[in-house]
């Protein structure tokens, strides 16, 4: 659906987005990750045609963005605001009309969206009379009106209470089921793990991680298993060390040992196994590790991945683990 190829953008001779290439397939929720100043916002602005790349191409369904994007892409920026004086329903209807809906259809859609986010009683109130949380929901609705096919959301959960976060997650799921594609930029890694299929991480404008969330987590996991048991663990063949914590133990394996052989050994010793799983690092830890250690940065010599789905996450530049 969205195809970004070799996109480069420089300011004052410094590349803020450096030959980034990725694809977002229809119906997926795709995470765009990176530390502050990595170039995410610039990349999003180029996808939304607010900025033009110095080189490279961005295509939506195989066509250049300006020809298609306006009515099909919606963008909720991180720094966002609303007109203060108009009524909530008028604000949404305005965005709807800009997306090509008729005045009547735009107003109907605005009413329906406000009802969906439980703000129908506030539809005729000026935006400035709404609470910050309510305004946040109206802002989310400005992105949803007109049923865009590609939703680009930059930190959409900021300022929402847990109930509204849940409501918004449901909305995203609904949109996805209806065929929409979501590009989600967030620092909330638990949300990425929970919602996203694939992720791209950029740092200093370079691609440093790209692949499915599961593969990224697996690749960055240590060679270890986690075990929940009430039994006392002695020495286990093929296990280098055991770290026990609150009824759960992490077993670091020797290089030639497989998790299956360890499980067999535990059962042979009549250990009461309540749960047994491959250990994997939380995405947040991977994020910190990659950024802190500068993994994947190759100072412009990188070869960006060309396959949009990779069995293993691409770590550009051979930074390794």
């Amino acid at each position: 659906m969205l195809e970004v190829r070799e996109v480069l953008k420089s300011y004052d001779g410094r590349a803020v987005v450096n030959r980034v290439t990725f694809e977002v397939t229809p119906g997926e929720i795709f995470a765009l990750l990176g530390p502050n100043g990595a170039g995410k916002t610039t990349l999003i602005r180029m996808i939304t045609d607010i900025l033009r790349p110095d080189s490279g191409t961005i295509r939506l369904d195989g066509r250049a963005i300006p020809e298609r994007a306006r009515n099909e892409i919606a963008y909720l920026p991180e720094e966002r605001g609303l007109y203060r004086r108009p009524k909530a329903v008028e604000t949404l209807a305005y965005y709807g009309e800009l997306k090509g809906l008729s005045a009547r259809r735009a107003r109907e859609s605005a009413q329906a969206l406000l009802e969906r986010v439980e703000l129908s009683e506030w539809a005729m109130k000026p935006i400035q009379s709404l609470s910050k949380g309510m305004q946040q929901k109206v802002q989310l609705c400005t992105a949803l009106i007109g049923d865009p096919r590609l939703l680009i959301l930059d930190e959409p959960f900021t300022g929402l209470d847990p109930l509204n976060v849940q409501m918004f997650e449901e909305l995203l799921t609904e949109r996805r089921a209806a065929g929409a594609t979501v590009l989600l930029s967030t620092h909330q890694m638990n949300k990425v793990e929970q919602l996203c299929d694939r992720a791209l991480m950029i740092n200093h404008g370079h691609m440093v991680l790209y692949g499915t969330v599961r593969d990224i987590r697996r690749r960055y996991s240590d060679h270890a298993v986690t075990l929940r048991t009430s039994s006392t663990l002695g020495t286990v063949p093929g296990v280098k060390s055991i770290v026990a914590n609150n009824g759960e133990a992490t077993l670091l394996l020797d290089s030639g040992t497989t998790p299956q052989s360890v499980l067999r050994a535990l059962l042979d010793r009549n250990v009461d196994v309540e749960s047994f799983a491959l250990a994997s690092l939380p995405l947040e830890d991977i994020f910190v590790k990659v950024v802190r250690e500068g993994l994947g940065l190759d100072h412009g010599q990188s070869e960006a991945p060309t396959e949009h789905r990779t069995a293993e996450p691409a770590l550009v530049g051979g930074g390794g683990r």
């Binding site: 602005r45 939304t48 045609d49 607010i50 900025l51 300006p66 020809e67 994007a69 306006r70 009515n71 892409i73 919606a74 963008y75 909720l76 920026p77 720094e79 966002r80 605001g81 609303l82 007109y83 203060r84 004086r85 108009p86 305005y94 965005y95 009309e97 800009l98 997306k99 090509g100 802002q139 400005t142 992105a143 680009i152």
Partner: protein, 435 residues
């Protein structure tokens, strides 16, 4: 670059409706002409009142005549003040409709200065006139008063008229004496007209002929600035409140800018239309009675200057709104361009007095001052602006407006997303060139 006209129309409609529904808009529509009318009334009525006050206070004038020339001078004189001279419409009013006020002044002779001074200090007389023995040779007269008006010399003219009358009274007949005191009471001045023949100069009629187009030109100047200010305010507010980024995904910067220009230009035109409509209803019948015509050609030229002037200033204001961080900063920059627009009105006496002088021609060719300067030149009583100058001025303004629009669109695209830092002039120029 593909432009979507429906999106432009949506932006324009929203900008127009949002602006005209604001209380500030209603206040501008009603308040601005009310303010100007009040200022004009205050200055006109104040001048008349001041003159009347001066003459009312001149009830008795003491005279110390050492020359002996005024022994037979009248012991009182009357001064007539008519509101007509202050009211441009009064000339056309039926006779007697505007009543005149008569002020009577008595003459009280004194033998010496000391006794006259004592009477003046004791408020027995209003002023003291001392005529020295060598008055005939020197022409010197000393006048003593407790106070002096800054804004009226009606007392000086009244005393001078009495002196003239007194000099010849008894020596010539009374009719001649009266004429000497007011020698050019009903002077008619004939000037060379635009068709080559001499025409009777009618100051009040000329004032009317000038005032109507002048006010019209002033309205256009105000509406150009108004539209520009709405643009400046709108862009600066949207930038400050971070609305633009989500909006720019849906509508291109060029479409957004065009929509704003159309919508807010229409709001500016609406203000002019309301003022012109109300003005025509209120003073239209009087103007018809006075035979004042507003040539259709002039109206067309004015419309051309409004459209191009608005496009020129509106583009600049949009660019300023886009590069500055907040409303206060935006207004600091915009004030210089507003000043340029009104600069010709500051030089009004020069432009009306010498409409064909090289500086006047240059000002009407220079795009920032062209709308005001050319309209003033066209309305000047002795104006004869060649058509080629109007065409050249409009062409130059159109070229400048186009250049401003293109540069502003490029600056707008980059500047809208720049927060926290106002770019310097070289950066702005680079944006305008590169986009």
């Amino acid at each position: 670059m593909r432009i979507s006209w429906p999106r432009i129309a949506t932006v324009a409609r929203r900008e127009f409706l949002t602006t005209v529904r604001r209380k500030a808009f209603v206040f501008t529509v009603i308040g601005t002409p009310a303010y100007f009318a009040f200022v004009m009334w205050i200055s006109s009525a104040g001048e008349l009142k001041e003159r009347s006050e001066v003459l009312r206070e001149l009830s008795t004038v003491g005279v110390v005549d050492s020359s002996g020339l005024f022994r037979d001078a009248p012991m009182e004189f009357r001064t007539e003040v008519s509101a007509e001279s202050n009211n441009m419409f009064a000339k056309r009013a039926p006779e007697g409709l505007v009543p005149a006020t008569l002020f009577q002044t008595k003459i009280r002779p004194f033998d010496d200065f000391a006794s006259g001074e004592t009477a003046l200090r004791a408020r027995e007389i209003s002023q003291l006139v001392v005529i020295p023995a060598n008055y005939l040779e020197s022409g010197r007269v000393r006048r003593y008063a407790r106070t002096s008006s800054l804004f009226s010399s009606a007392d000086k003219r009244a005393v001078a008229s009495w002196l003239a009358n007194g000099l010849v009274r008894g020596r010539v007949d009374s009719l001649l004496a009266a004429r000497v005191s007011r020698p050019a009471e009903l002077e008619q001045l004939f000037t060379l007209g635009k068709d080559g023949s001499f025409e009777l100069k009618d100051n009040r009629r000329e004032m009317l002929d000038f005032m109507v187009p002048f006010m019209f030109a002033m309205l256009l100047g105000v509406s150009i600035v108004l539209g520009g200010q709405y643009l400046l305010q709108g862009v600066a507010e949207e930038k400050e409140s971070r609305i633009l980024e989500s909006l720019l995904c849906t509508v291109s910067p060029e479409e957004l800018m065009a929509g704003k220009l159309f919508g807010l230009g229409a709001a500016g035109l609406l203000v002019v239309a309301i003022w012109a409509g109300v003005g025509a209803t209120v003073v239209g019948p009087i103007l018809l009675l006075a035979g004042v015509k507003l040539p259709a050609g002039l109206l067309l030229i004015a419309l051309g200057y409004f459209l191009l002037g608005y496009l020129f200033y509106g583009s600049i204001m949009t660019g300023i709104g886009a590069v500055t961080g907040n409303m206060r900063e935006a207004q600091q920059f915009s004030v210089w361009f507003t000043f340029l627009n009104f600069a010709p009105f500051i030089m009004i006496t020069f432009l009306l007095g010498r409409p064909n002088a090289p500086l006047a021609v240059a000002l009407s060719m220079f795009p920032p001052t062209a709308p005001g300067a050319m309209m003033l030149r066209l309305t000047a009583p002795s104006s004869a602006v060649p058509p080629w100058q109007i065409a050249a001025s409009l062409a130059l303004l159109a070229a400048a407006a186009w250049a401003a629009l293109m540069a502003s669109a490029r600056i707008f695209r980059i500047g809208l997303l720049l927060y926290g830092k106002t770019p310097n002039l070289p950066e702005i120029i680079r944006w305008a060139r590169q986009g």
